[in-house]
Amino acid sequence: MKIKLCTLLFGFLLLASISSVAQTTGQQYKVDTSSLSLFPVPNFYANVRFTDPLDSSAGSDLAIDNIEITSTPTHPFSVEDVQRQPGTKKGIQVTFTGDPPTDVTSAHICFHKLNFLDSQNKTHGVSEVCGNPEIETSASVAGQRDSVLNDLKTVPKTSAEKNIFASGFTTTASSGTDGGVNLNLNSNELGVPGLTVFLHLDKATSVGGDPKRFEAGPNFRNILLFGRADLQQMQKDIAELRTNPPTQRRAELIDELNKIEGKKRFWSAVLIDFSGQLEGEALNFNVTNFIGNGQIQLQSRTQRLFGSNSGFWRVRLVPAGMEGGKNVNSTTTQAATATSQSSSPEDFVARVKAGGQLTLFYENTDNPFPLKRVDLDLGLVQRYLFFKEAQVSGSPGVATIFNSGRKPWYQASLKIYLVDTPKGKYGFQLSYNNGSLPPAFSNTKSFQFGFLFESSDGEDAKPAKK
C-alpha cells in the first residue's frame, strides 16, 4: 500500500516538473484597455491600461510630448498632466484642460516610447504603443457601467470555503469529495440589497462519512461596521481635499487620513443573518424541517501571519445563533428489518448554536524547501437541541433514534502545495470531519486524502485521488 502511494506521488511530482519545464511566458507590450472620459474638468481625462507592467523609474514615459491624441472629428486636446495610476504598474492617466468636445465619435492615443518590465524585471523600450480609447460621454456612461457590471458577474468563483453555520453565507463552486458532493451555491441577484438565496448539499457514499445534509432558502444579511465612524471621517476628509484647501489644512487632512487608515483594528464587522430554509436528509428527505435561523457573526480583518508578508490568517466567530421551526417529516427506518417506520415524537425544532472558523494561509514561492503554499481551515460548531430530533444512522438497516442535547461538528482541511509552476500549483489535501449536522444528525467521522492541482487562473481541479 505504502509502495503504491509513493509511486503515485512520485509520478505526480514528475508530471508537475515536466509541466513546469514546458511553460513559456510571453510579453505583449500593448495597450490592453483605454477610455476617454469627455466630462467637464476634472473628469476630462484618458485612462490607458497596458498588458504588461511599466518601469516606474522611466520618467520619460510620462512626458507630455510623449503622448499624442487625435479624434474624429478633429479637436485639439490640451494635456494638463500625465501620471501613473495609483495602485497599479500597468496604468497611466492623462488629464486634459479646457472644455471637452461633445461630438467625438472615435479617438486614437499613442505613446511614442514606453518602458515595460518583463517577468525578470528587465526593461524593454517599445515605440509607438497605441490604442483606440472607448469614448465615455453622459449619453453612453450608464450603458458602459452596466457592461462592466455584467463582466463582473461572469467571473468564475474559485474559492472553496465550507460554511458550517448553515445558511448560505458562502459562495462557492462545487468540489468533489470521495464518492460524494459538497455543493454551496449563492445568488445575490434578487434586487434586494443583503438578500441572497442559497443551496447547500453535503452528501457522500462512504459509511460513517456522510453528513446527509441538504438545505436551501433565502437569507437576509445586515452588516454593522466597527470602523463606520472612521470611514465617515475619511469621506469628509477626502471631500474637503477635493476643494483644494490651503497647504496647511491639506497637510492636516492627509495626516488625519493616514492616521485613520493605520489604525490597528482587529474586528471589521458584525454580520447579522436571518434566513428561512428547508432542510432535509440528503437525498431522500426522510427527515425534513422548515427552519427559521438567526445568528450573529464577528468577522476579523485579515491579519498578517506572524507579521510577515508571506501569509495571513483570519477568524470568524459565531457567539450566538438560534434555529427554530417545524418538523414536517421524520419517517425513519426501524431496526434491522428496514421495513417498519416511525415518526418524530416532537413537532417542533429548537436549537442554539455557537462556533468559529479559523483560516490560515502561507505562500512563499521563493522558499527553497518544497513547501510553496499551505492552506489550513479549522471550523467547529456546537449545537444544543432542546427537543428530540432524528439521528439517522450512517449504516443501512440500523434504526434511527431520537434524542436532544449537544451535537458538535468539527472540520479541518489542510492543503499543501509542493510544486509551483506558471501554469499552476501541485500538492495534496487532507481533510477531517467529525460530528453531526442537521437535520439528519448522522454521526460522521471521515478522513480524506487527495492530490491537488490549482491552475494559475484559480480554477481548482483534482487530477488524482486516493
Binding site: 474638468v41 495609483p86 495602485g87 488629464t95 465615455e136 470555503e161 477626502i238 468577522q299 498578517r304
Partner: protein, 131 residues
C-alpha cells in the same frame, strides 16, 4: 481674458464665466474623482495586508500593484465572506453610488481593477444624473 471668455460664449454672463474658469482651475488641481482612493481604503479597512498612503500624489498602496490583483490574492487576503464587508466599507466612502456598489458580486476572485472601473463609471453616471 474676461473679454475673450465673453466673446466666445456670449450667452454666459461675464462674472459667471470668470467663476467657472476659477472653479475649473481649482478642480483641475484636485484631479478626477474616480473612486480609486476610496476602493483602496475600503480594502484596507477589510484586510491589514493592504495599506494606503494618501500623503503622496498620487496616493500609494502596499502592495504597489494592488489593482492588478484579485481580492482573494495572497497579498490581499479577502474571502467571499469578506466581500460584503468590503462593499459596506465602500458604501460609506461613496454613498452617492450605493445602489451600484450593492450589485457588485460577492466573489473574491474579482479583479480589483475591474471593480475600480465599475466605481469610476458609476461616479461618472452619478455626475450625469446630478447635472
Amino acid at each position: 481674458m474676461a473679454m475673450k471668455a465673453s466673446s466666445s460664449k456670449p450667452a454666459v454672463p461675464q462674472h459667471i464665466a470668470v467663476m467657472n474658469s476659477l472653479i475649473a482651475t481649482k478642480q483641475a488641481a484636485v484631479g478626477p474623482k474616480d473612486g480609486r482612493l476610496e476602493v483602496a481604503l475600503a480594502i484596507s479597512a477589510t484586510t491589514t495586508l493592504v495599506t494606503v498612503d494618501a500623503s503622496t500624489t498620487p496616493f500609494t498602496t502596499i502592495p504597489d500593484d494592488l489593482f492588478d490583483r484579485t481580492f482573494n490574492d495572497a497579498k490581499v487576503g479577502i474571502s467571499d465572506d469578506q466581500m460584503s464587508i468590503f462593499k459596506a466599507n465602500l458604501t460609506v466612502l461613496l454613498p452617492e453610488i450605493t445602489d451600484d456598489i450593492a450589485q457588485i458580486p460577492e466573489n473574491s476572485a474579482l479583479p480589483i481593477e475591474k471593480v475600480a472601473e465599475l466605481v469610476r463609471l458609476s461616479l461618472l453616471a452619478a455626475l450625469k444624473s446630478k447635472s
